[in-house]
Symmetry: C2
Subunit: 119 residues, 2 copies
Amino acid sequence: MRIGELSRRTGVPARMLRYYEEQGLLEPERAGNGYRLYGGAAVYRVQQIRGLLDSGLTTEIIRRILPFLDAGDIHLRPQCLTPELAELLQAEADRITARIDCLARNRDALLRYLSTVRG
Amino acid sequence: MRIGELSRRTGVPARMLRYYEEQGLLEPERAGNGYRLYGGAAVYRVQQIRGLLDSGLTTEIIRRILPFLDAGDIHLRPQCLTPELAELLQAEADRITARIDCLARNRDALLRYLSTVRG
DNA sequence: GTTTGCCTTCACACTGATGTGAAGGTTTCA
DNA sequence: TGAAACCTTCACATCAGTGTGAAGGCAAAC
């Protein structure tokens, strides 16, 4: 699909799809006329990017961990994982866990208040 | 305590503590000479603010939900909760849940990859 | 063949969170 | 009395993510 359809299907402005590409998060094919061409998987990919951005990750962090988030097959060879990279991924996972804990704690407090007051 | 000590104890630059105050997230007392004076609870409060900011909330959202996050007592009277406010709090709780789901999904994928490759 | 609706790149503006530093007041200590 | 270490306000800069629009190419439809 072209950029307009992807934009419509994800609700993300075409401007941002180009920006995410510039940041190395999307790599669409190009048609002969220069138009960007996205596969169906791009819809999920874009939603994933937006969710992570909205949860406080930067495009730089997302770019680094993105190859390992859908790791079905290709990256499974151990030589892809240098010790430094493993450490980075583990550190990011830990930061994400800290975010989850913080969010869960505060959301629960919010819901507790709501249910108490609502009676 | 004064701003320097709070900064030291939280690791947050004094500059940002003043900014959070400007945004309505902190309300320190003032000494006769104009110095800001924080109570001990400010340490936790600041860490809470930082955690939420790092998880994608804005100072504006934090300001709105903050009074209800520590709701031990004061705000428990139902007349504090207009239907509009309840809706807003519920909507924010839902957004937070969406963030948690997104983060957990991607963190789990990351950890799955790590444990597979590490063997 | 011109209009219409896509698409392209490029540039400039804005916003929120943050860094940096100037200019000056207060307290403490040598 | 003066230096050192606090504090104050104010202003200007930076950075990432986003909005907006200009100038122009391509393609389908009338």
